[in-house]
Subunit: 147 residues, 6 copies
């Protein structure tokens, strides 16, 4: 059941955001036959970050609308990614900080064994800081779940 | 005081671990005149992950041994990176999970203004899971602090 | 000072919500000479869940209005119950989720020794999920405190 | 995709532990064609609680040994249940407390729509307190995940 | 039910540790007819901090040995104080840090109304840092509970 | 690099709030050549507490306006202090509680070695409780960071 080196879904999800040559990563994901999308969201409300990712995932048919099972898998992947971004309390405006984030969602089969089925990765990269231009540093998060 | 695009210290710290061409990232960091090092640590004890990174940082003279100020900056960057890795409780073996991680430490000046001084970034990338071969998925973490 | 098997206040508080025959549980609580009440609350705001339980406790004279000591005991029991419901961050709408909960409050003497005095149990049972019909699963929580 | 009232998997998992007539609950679960098991574990180490539940789940073939996907679903259900038990920090002996718990694992299809597939529920009920006979109160936890 | 200015139990518990003239604070506490004690504990294990305070409280008869109700009140006050000391995760050695702490326990009636009864305050003051001489800064914590 | 006994910045920050003779503490801080200020804030929103302290720090020139490095150091000291005040979740109104706090900010050199440079301490003292007059107890918090 080992993780296939060419199919490291988490690494690919992060590279979708960090790679200078994003097309290259996108191509790898496409060649694997996986689904993916990216987007941007800036907000002082964590709920808006969650909503933006959920909406993008549905619109791009990465998760099936109306199937809770898939929404549940995605939701937990998002919240786990937010832990990396917020590092302690999953709170933004309520502790007077804001984020400007890019996100990527990747759905595919990262394991050798077909029994392991599909997994979903949500990556976040951007800045977090005070609601003041420039008063911010980078932040990253990754959540992975079976779907 | 804005973050300089070419000097995104967090992105560079993560690329040190994810890039296929790690030499390329290392070169960019070196050209900026920054200090950096990478290493690996696998453990069921979070304290061993902390210790491995602290030791590497001192041995590679990224932080000054015997100066608490620098150790304090590094420590918080490590713990913040561990939040991304553990996503909830900064615990490994005590909740029956283990990690196999690569880490990078980068120290440099990511902001345009010289007043912003030096910052330190700690990135972690690898797997987290049950203490059983293959029962694991990827995980990432990034901590950034002024130093 | 052992916990009396017939007086397991936490079990009774949960059975008030789960038992098919709720009257049976209510009767047991009444026969013990304890006070209890139940209610329902649905919200995206954790503060509204807290308020609904506090109001029910006061209106049903389970805690004495105007005595902070009792309010303090109740408050911590509620927050502890919410930890079970939220499992990580005591947040609802701020991480884009909502709850539909039944609650029970039971006040009585669960220990053999009279020195142990009165305790209060708050139980929560219902669903948690996305603010979308059906996108939810069950959740439970129990908080117990001396009063 | 609504939750079927007769198939409330969380409620059934908790009733497996609380019902006076445990056979009755077991029969309901069996009639639904679902798999389930119960067990007991007492420890000052959270990792032992996790291990006991994982072992029981594998031995009773509720999850498939060697399939990480299933182990991953179970693990997160266990940790979520432990949040209800520990209410704040998923720690036992490290903050000088111990638990004596019964647990139940139930796997089945709680939703009307077959698309929602199988879910797993882990329930915990027992006592938590100081490592001193009688210095304890009840505690409960429930974790639910898609599998 | 307001907090009496002369009887601010939390302030007194902290002053027992910080005041240059500790005798003066002790005298005030004694004049109020309250019970108190102080002690010291240094450890990399949070459980040892808890144990040291619990033992001191029993030995000095601030809480009644064998009465769980009192032990429960004290335990939660200790853990709350530890939140202030650890600021995030109630962990020490497991995240490679250690504490050297003084503690004070004060039991008394801080409210005007006699209905509010007795409360207990646990204060902690000292240093937290790396297990390396001098690599540490100050830390404080206060927990207050009804007893 | 040891902490100088006369320059315990955390103790001084707390004494600024607790000492009967606040002038005495202020004098000590001034004699050390350090900068400091105090203020008050009452709110159900943690973000307002953060904002009040940040504003005071800038207005009193304890941190340099427009230098993110300094704002970053201050922000983390504030959040750490709030951990002591909230003891678990850095939330106020969202879990139906409110605070009335005094705060002090002190900036100076607490270590013998000049290499250790400047540090900042944020102390909070006041009451936390239900949004109801008198339904509150004391709370304290201290955050310390290198700056």
């Amino acid at each position: 059941m080992s993780l296939n080196k060419e199919r490291r879904i988490g690494r690919l999800a992060v590279m979708m955001l960090l790679d200078d040559d994003k097309e290259r990563t996108l191509e790898i994901v496409k060649e694997l036959g996986w689904t993916t999308c990216t987007g941007k969201v800036g907000s002082m409300e964590a709920s808006k970050v969650v909503a933006a990712i959920e909406t993008a995932a549905r619109k791009n048919e990465i998760v099936k609308t109306g199937v809770y099972r898939e929404g549940h898998a995605l939701y937990h992947a998002i919240i786990e990614a937010l832990h990396g971004v917020t590092r302690g309390q999953v709170q933004l405006g309520s502790v007077l900080r804001t984020v400007g984030l890019s996100f990527a969602i990747v759905r595919g089969e990262p394991y050798d064994s077909s029994e392991e089925g599909e997994w979903i990765a949500v990556s976040l990269y951007g800045t977090i800081g005070a609601p003041m231009k420039g008063a911010e540093h980078e932040t990253i998060g990754l959540g992975i779940n079976h779907i």
